[in-house]
């Protein structure tokens, strides 16, 4: 049963899609998703900001009569050594992970851009790590890094690099290195895929011309690959930063933010504040501040993108 409506006649005369005649039904296609996201994303975000101005503990959560306290929660959080430490650790963890992940991703992309037997299989295998749920990979890492029976200590011991077991997740520095490693393991294949697509879009003729002019492999890489890869690199770096900055599962499962607070990044701090100490007001303030960093970065990114397009 095809319902007959007159909207067809209007669009049939012009070339599709047509700016002048957008049927009203067109907006109805988009409306449900927009209303849904307004309710499940926009409303919670606004609610969260409102919550950050209130003294909200567990009792007030249920009754809903939390007192307005202005900027008290923000003042409290910014003066809180735990928050400051979480902010610092967040930035260290994110910058380290993004840097190493980008370098590994680029190396893998350059490597996989060549043809050799087994290349496609290898690319598929790397992608499995990217799609593996972080709850699973975090558990695997915990087991591999186990101080007494872990595979890593066995391998390093067998190679003569260690003479006694290292308790990787118990020492502050090695715990941070461990969570960075687990993060890079998951994110590097993602960087590789995007960078590989970028590499494959560079015209082969550029390399041929450079080769004729006598440029060596390093010169070809630094003079052609690097500048041609700049736009996609910017995108990859932004996406890596944004996804790494909001990491929760990997660290929560590997260290719970410990030892002490050595790996307590902002999302973990905000979670503990709200769901362990039931301080929802300060938790909301922490998450609101936390949101500013990726937001500022993406604004900067979109502006530089527009400037690049304009020039």
């Amino acid at each position: 049963m095809i319902a007959r409506r007159s909207t067809g006649a209007a669009t049939a005369t012009g070339r599709p899609p047509n700016r002048r005649r957008v049927p009203l039904t067109a907006y109805l296609f988009v409306l449900p998703a927009v209303v849904f996201l307004a309710a499940t994303v926009l409303y919670p975000l606004v609610f969260n900001i409102d919550l950050s101005f209130r003294d909200a503990g567990l009792r007030q959560i249920v009754t809903g009569d939390a007192d307005f306290v202005g900027l008290d929660n923000y003042a409290e959080e910014l003066a809180n050594p735990d928050f400051r430490s979480a902010l610092a650790i967040s930035l260290i963890y994110t910058v380290l992970s993004v840097g190493v992940s980008f370098a590994c991703g680029l190396g893998l992309a350059v490597f996989l851009n060549k043809t050799f037997p087994g290349r496609n299989l290898m690319r598929s295998l790397l992608l499995i790590a990217w799609v593996l749920p972080t709850v699973v990979s975090a558990n695997i890492w915990r087991w591999i890094l186990d101080g007494t029976y872990g595979l890593l200590n066995t391998v390093l011991g067998g190679l003569g690099l260690l003479d006694k077991g290292v308790f990787w997740l118990v020492e502050p520095t090695s715990a941070l290195i461990s969570v960075v490693t687990a993060t890079v393991w998951s994110t590097a294949p993602f960087a590789m895929i995007l960078l590989l697509a970028g590499l494959q879009s560079i015209p082969e003729t550029l390399y041929e011309a450079a080769r004729i002019d006598g440029a060596g492999p390093w010169q070809r890489f630094s003079r052609i690959t690097v500048p041609m890869l700049r736009p996609v690199s910017m995108t990859v770096l932004l996406l890596l930063f944004v996804t790494t900055f909001k990491t929760f599962d990997t660290i929560y499962l590997m260290t719970r933010g410990g030892p002490g607070d050595a790996t307590t990044i902002l999302p973990i701090h905000a979670y503990l504040e709200a769901f362990q100490f039931f301080r929802f007001g300060t938790g909301a303030a922490a998450t609101t501040v936390m949101l500013l960093i990726p937001l500022a970065l993406s604004l900067f990114y979109f502006r530089s993108l527009r400037r690049e397009e304009a020039s």
């Binding site: 669009t11 599709p16 290898m122 695997i140």
Partner: protein
């Protein structure tokens, strides 16, 4: 000298792939060991004897894990259904019509994907507490869809852009209205994209952890990701059991990976419009 060099690359490739295969292998190998063999030093690289005891003990005979698997399945299927119901028309509308604010919408959908889950989980917990929706499937599904819908629209829109405008035009001339043109023409030719989004939505909800942790406080409502996180504390050093549950949680991802790769290739060759 070309062939030896290519083979050198293959050797390096195997080493690099090992970095990714060995952890996954180690999970499976550990899950197939007897409890005592897990702590052998040096560890057995190949489990002998192979035993499925860990799967029997910690999955089949564990009501907590089975319940978690059931919860994750329900939440995953409902999240997929709602995500498709909302994102298919939205992605089609944004691809087919020159709506005002198209770029604004697309940018907003991108920005939403950058929001840390905890930023939504915290206020949602408060809102759901008042609506009595903590520990409910509805709450979990709404939370999962909040991040799944923007991703789905972003992935689906390019598929609908490839649907030739002439085909849809022809249908509207023949008396189809916009909705039946969408349902009868645009959807059937976009099946590869729809399947991709369905699988991504399901797996996203399946492995999701932050909402699951924040929005469920009762054990019987916890998705398997949270149950698994609880196991590592409760089991302490029973790594064969932890790895068995991990492998079961990872199984849908491996299946989807095998299935999707073939499907997408099939979808590419199917080509609905012959010109």
């Amino acid at each position: 000298m070309r062939i030896p060099r290519a083979w050198l690359s293959s050797v390096l490739g195997i080493a690099l792939a090992g970095v990714y295969v060995v952890p996954v292998y180690w999970m499976v190998a550990t899950s197939l060991k007897q409890p005592g063999d897990v702590f052998a030093s040096p560890p057995d690289l190949i489990p002998s004897p192979v035993t499925f005891r860990a799967y029997a003990d910690s999955v089949l005979n564990s009501s907590g894990v089975l319940r978690g698997l059931l919860n994750s399945t329900i939440v995953g299927i409902a999240t997929t259904a709602l995500t498709l119901a909302l994102s298919l028309p939205a992605a089609y509308g944004l691809a087919r019509f020159r709506l005002r604010f198209v770029n604004t919408f697309l940018l907003l959908f991108l920005v939403v994907q950058m929001i840390p889950a905890i930023n939504l989980a915290l206020p949602m917990f408060v809102i759901f507490s008042r609506l009595d929706m903590v520990n409910s499937y509805t709450g979990l599904v709404l939370a999962n869809c909040s991040l799944a819908v923007p991703l789905a629209v972003t992935v689906l829109r390019p598929y609908f852009l490839t649907v030739p405008g002439e085909v849809v035009e022809a249908a509207t001339v023949d008396g189809c209205n916009q909705w039946s043109a969408f349902l009868r023409i645009a959807l059937p030719v976009s099946v590869p994209g729809i399947v991709t989004v369905a699988v991504v939505s399901f797996l996203g909800a399946w492995g999701e952890f932050v909402f699951a942790l924040a929005l469920t406080t009762k054990e019987e409502m916890q998705p398997v990701s949270v149950v698994l996180a609880g196991l590592t504390n409760a089991f302490g050093t029973r790594w064969n059991d932890v790895m068995a549950v991990s492998a079961v949680v990872a199984l849908p991802i491996f299946l989807a990976f095998l299935f999707l790769q073939r499907f997408v290739v099939g979808g590419l060759t199917a080509g609905a419009s012959k010109s």
